[in-house]
Every structure is written in structure tokens, then in C-alpha cells.
């Protein structure tokens, strides 16, 4: 059901772990939905993300998308990282089964949540974060009932 690239990122995820002195930490999801993603970013004075780590509780695609997302934002500026979309992550993984695409939303949101906390603590404004609410429940897949 998953392609080789997804399985590789699931079995050998990149950047798993924590960063103790991270400038930015963001967590999204909840255990009720079966997935939680926490993202740690090390950001230097030039707004460059020099290191990224993650911890994820979730299914194969949640873990694979976390791993891919960390690779995609490492070395990027904060502004560039904010442009990361879930579809870009899915594309980088050569695709996910349609039923699993929603898991990738979490990766995008985890990055945004980390930067949101970072910006808030430093009174920074990023137009990309306009309207973003890290606590906006992870309800993207609970809004329709089963037949």
C-alpha cells in the first residue's frame, strides 16, 4: 500500500529525537485521533533552521511525513519553512494512498506550530501564519460520519 520511499522513511526515519535548547517547539494532533507530532527547530540569528528533530505517535504515513518534512525544512529560513505544504511533503514521498493524505497535514501543521510559538515568544510577525491556530483541533478527519 505504501511505496518504497514512504516505507524507507517509516522504517528509517530521519531526524527522530529532541533538541534540548530548541528555539521552536510545536506539537499538534491528539491521542484520540491516533496521531501526535512534535517538532523541534534550532534557529540561528539569520532565521535559518540549522537543525530539526521530531517525535511522532501515529501511523506509518504520519511517521514518514514527519521524517520527510524535517528533511525539507532543514537549512531553510523560517519564511521558507512556512511555505511547506502537506502536498509538497506527499510529493517528495512520491505519493501516499488517497486515504492517507490527511496524515500529511499534521506535518505541515507541526512545522507551523513550532514557528508560531517561536514568533509569539519573540513578537515576530509572519504573514504566512495569519489565521493559523495551533490549537485548532486536529479535526480534519472527524467532520463526517460513517455511513
Amino acid at each position: 500500500m505504501y511505496n518504497e520511499k514512504v516505507m524507507d522513511h517509516f522504517m528509517n526515519p530521519r531526524n527522530v529525537g529532541e533538541i534540548e535548547d530548541a528555539e521552536a517547539i510545536g506539537e499538534v494532533g491528539n491521542p484520540r485521533c491516533g496521531d501526535i507530532m512534535r517538532m523541534y527547530l534550532k534557529i540561528d540569528n539569520n532565521d535559518v533552521i540549522t537543525d530539526v528533530k521530531f517525535k511522532t505517535y501515529g501511523c506509518g504515513s504520519a511517521i514518514a511525513t514527519s521524517s520527510m518534512a524535517t528533511e525539507m525544512i532543514k537549512g531553510k529560513t523560517v519564511k521558507e519553512a512556512l511555505k511547506l505544504t502537506n502536498m509538497a511533503v506527499v510529493e517528495a514521498l512520491d505519493g501516499l494512498p488517497p486515504a492517507k493524505v490527511h496524515c500529511s497535514v499534521l506535518a505541515e501543521r507541526a512545522v507551523k506550530a513550532a514557528i508560531y510559538n517561536y514568533a509569539k515568544a519573540r513578537n515576530l510577525m509572519y504573514e504566512e501564519l495569519e489565521g493559523f491556530d495551533p490549537n485548532d483541533g486536529h479535526d480534519h478527519h472527524h467532520d463526517h460520519e460513517e455511513e
Binding site: 505504501y2 491521542p31 484520540r32 511522532t56 505517535y57 501511523c59 506509518g60
Partner: protein, 393 residues
């Protein structure tokens, strides 16, 4: 990696060699339509009759009370819709449980839209229906009670004789979905007092796409499939002769050594449960410890998600299943696990391993050995686990 360690017998089973051999002639040499009067047609009819006798024998029913269907789901649909519509003049209330198979639950939901009322009985933490709850749910207009014999996910075996007895006392028709119990339990429809019972071939080493419904003589039921006069005018459609023949053989084989089968699987099951629970922390058995199908193991692993667990096991050649939302294609975790009071989180972390005739002790050891590092790896990635470790320290 190819599946070398199959732990999903509750999903389906391989067709046994002896079963396949009996089936094969009916695909070509004896392909005749059982409704035809010439020789190869009659041969097909005889074979279907023999299969019916074999299945009747395993249930202690009369042969004429066994009706072949296209599988367990059809049997459930027929039993419930057939009884509901045939007895509408008597009432419109049906009682079932919250942990039924979707073939029962979705049929009941459909009937609710058609004007029937359905009570979904709760279960206790083991997945057991209470006889008092059933008694209290019965109304003057109750026409059908449908409670599964044994649950497909957690293996819990219901007190069917008591439940059927309550129905009988009130003159209410009693149906049970015995798809999982058949071939794993001794089932005597006379002793149990059951009116309708659904079974399926592919769970007992027979082919897919064939099942049966036991209908006690005199039970008022409409037909589900209209058409020709097959199955004593009650289930139309040219018989699936090879499938029915295979089902008959599989049923006969399943009950040849049923006591031995139950004893062997129970031993393996308990070894697997003990092995996992004692070796891996933060695990919990789902379902009842003893009122349980002999081949069913269902364990929740805290702090990890079931699909990730299944993928990792698959990489080691182990086939299993989970009640996690991510594996069901639906968006919520198993309705069975949540009905037993399990939190969504624990339901997401559930693993079902079901054993069967080809499971060996070595395979049990292999799974236990492989599970530990897999669970550790996923837990080390999980932010939930880290919180717990923090508290422990």
C-alpha cells in the same frame, strides 16, 4: 517481505488441500447446473445435498434447515431483514449489541431508516452482553434478537444459550452471527435453542464467497434474493457448486477433531498472550481471558499506533490486524474496542493476532521475539511514551 507468519486466521483462512481436491471436479468435469435433470446436473445436485448434510451434522440441525448463501454477510442480511419484514405485523423492535459485525450493524441501521427501532445493547469491559440488559430491553413489539456468538476482534464468547433462552421464553426469534465461532466452538442449535445462525466457509479453510444460514423450521422469514427456485424457493440463484462442496468438506474436517483443535489453539493462544504481556510493558489484553475464541489474541500496546505496528510486523513477514482507525479505512478506531470502554488511544494501539490450524509453537516464539524491538522502536519515537518515562524516572 512475503508473509511467512500468518496471524490473521480470523480474517480468512487458506483452503485446505483436501477441500480444494473435492471442489475441483465441479469447476469443469461436473459443471452441470444442479437444477438440470441430466446426469451432470444431478451430480451437482447430489454434491450440494451431501454438503448440506455435512453442515447440518456439525450444527445438529436438520439438512432442510441449512440454506446456502454467498457468505456470512449475506446470511446476516437475510436473517435480519428477512425476519424484520416478515414479522412487521407483530412489531418493529429489534435488539442487537454494540459489538456486532458490520454486516449486522449496518443492516440494523438500514432497518432503522425503514421504520424499525433498534436497541444496541452495551457490553462490559470484556465484551460480554448482560442477560439482565437483554431482559430489560425486550418490549411487547420486539420481533428479533441478534447477538453474535463470538466476536471477531476480541474473541469474546457470549452466553448464547442463556440469551437464546430469554428470547424463547418471550417467543422472540433469536439469530446469532456464528461466523467466527463456527469451527472453533461446539455448536448445537437444538441444545442452544437458536432460530437462525450465520456461518461462512472461508473462516474454516473453505473457499470465499460461500456461507450458510441455518433457519429453524417454522421461522417466519422473507427471502432476500428473489428469482429461481433454488434452496427450496428461499434463496434464488444457481448454486455455487464448487464453493458449496468445499464448504461441506471444510465443515466436516473442522468438526472431525474439534475438541483437539480447541485444546491445541487455546494452548498456543495463552502462550502468546502470556509471552507478550510478561515481556512487554504497558500492554493489556482486550476481551475475556477465558470466555474467548481459542485462536484469538488482542492486545493493546500503549503509546503506539496499530498501523505502524502492523507495517513493522509485515517487514518481518508477520501478518496481523489492528483496531486502529488507520487500518480500518474508517476514521474512528474499532467500535468493538471502544464499546468495551477502551480509550481511543488504547484502541488505536491494538493488535489482533489470530491463530489457526497451521500455526506452530515456533511461530508463536518468533512473534514474541520480533514484537519487543518493534514496540520499543515505535515507543522511542512517540511523544506519549516519553511523558510516561519522564514520570517513571
Amino acid at each position: 517481505m512475503c508473509t511467512q507468519f500468518y496471524f490473521d486466521y480470523a480474517a480468512t483462512t487458506p483452503v485446505k488441500k483436501e477441500v480444494l481436491e473435492e471442489m475441483l471436479p465441479f469447476f469443469n468435469a461436473d459443471f452441470g447446473n444442479p437444477s438440470s435433470i441430466y446426469n451432470i446436473g444431478r451430480r451437482g445436485k447430489n454434491a450440494v445435498d451431501i454438503a448440506r448434510d455435512r453442515i447440518a451434522k456439525t450444527l445438529n440441525s436438520k439438512s432442510e434447515e441449512i440454506f446456502f448463501t454467498g457468505g456470512g454477510s449475506e446470511s446476516d442480511n437475510w436473517a435480519i431483514k428477512g425476519v424484520a419484514f416478515a414479522n412487521r405485523d407483530k412489531g418493529n423492535h429489534i435488539i442487537t449489541s454494540k459489538i456486532e459485525h458490520h454486516a449486522v450493524l449496518q443492516t440494523c441501521k438500514y432497518l432503522e431508516r425503514e421504520g424499525f427501532e433498534v436497541t444496541y445493547l452495551s457490553v462490559d469491559k470484556y465484551g460480554l452482553v448482560s442477560t439482565d440488559d437483554l431482559k430489560n430491553a425486550i418490549r411487547d413489539n420486539t420481533i428479533l434478537i441478534s447477538i453474535m456468538y463470538a466476536n471477531n476482534e476480541i474473541g469474546t464468547i457470549q452466553p448464547i444459550k442463556e440469551l437464546a433462552g430469554i428470547a424463547k421464553e418471550k417467543g422472540i426469534i433469536f439469530h446469532t452471527d456464528a461466523v467466527q465461532a463456527y469451527g472453533n466452538e461446539i455448536i448445537d442449535v437444538e441444545d442452544l435453542g437458536i432460530d437462525l445462525l450465520s456461518v461462512s466457509a472461508h473462516k474454516i479453510y473453505g473457499p470465499k464467497g460461500v456461507g450458510a444460514l441455518y433457519i429453524r423450521k417454522g421461522t417466519k422469514i422473507h427471502k432476500l434474493i428473489h428469482g429461481g427456485g433454488q434452496e427450496k424457493m428461499r434463496r434464488a440463484g444457481t448454486e455455487n457448486t464448487p464453493g458449496i462442496v468445499g464448504f461441506g468438506k471444510a465443515a466436516e474436517m473442522a468438526y472431525e477433531n474439534i475438541e483437539e483443535h480447541i485444546e491445541r489453539l487455546t494452548g498456543l493462544r495463552d502462550k502468546l498472550i502470556d509471552g507478550i504481556i510478561t515481556k512487554i510493558e504497558h500492554t493489556e489484553l482486550n476481551g475475556h481471558p477465558t470466555k474467548r475464541l481459542p485462536g484469538n489474541v488482542n492486545i493493546s500496546f500503549e503509546f503506539i499506533e496499530g498501523e505502524a505496528l502492523l507495517l513493522s510486523l509485515d517487514m518481518e513477514g508477520i501478518a496481523a490486524s489492528s483496531g486502529s482507525a488507520c487500518t480500518s479505512g474508517s476514521l474512528n478506531p474499532s467500535h468493538v474496542l471502544t464499546a468495551t470502554g477502551l480509550t481511543h488511544e488504547k484502541a488505536h494501539g491494538s493488535l489482533r493476532l489470530t491463530l489457526g490450524d497451521f500455526t506452530t509453537e515456533d511461530e508463536i516464539d518468533y512473534v514474541i521475539e520480533k514484537l519487543q524491538p518493534i514496540v520499543n522502536r515505535l515507543r522511542n519515537m512517540s511523544p506519549l511514551y516519553e511523558n510516561v518515562r519522564g514520570k517513571d524516572e
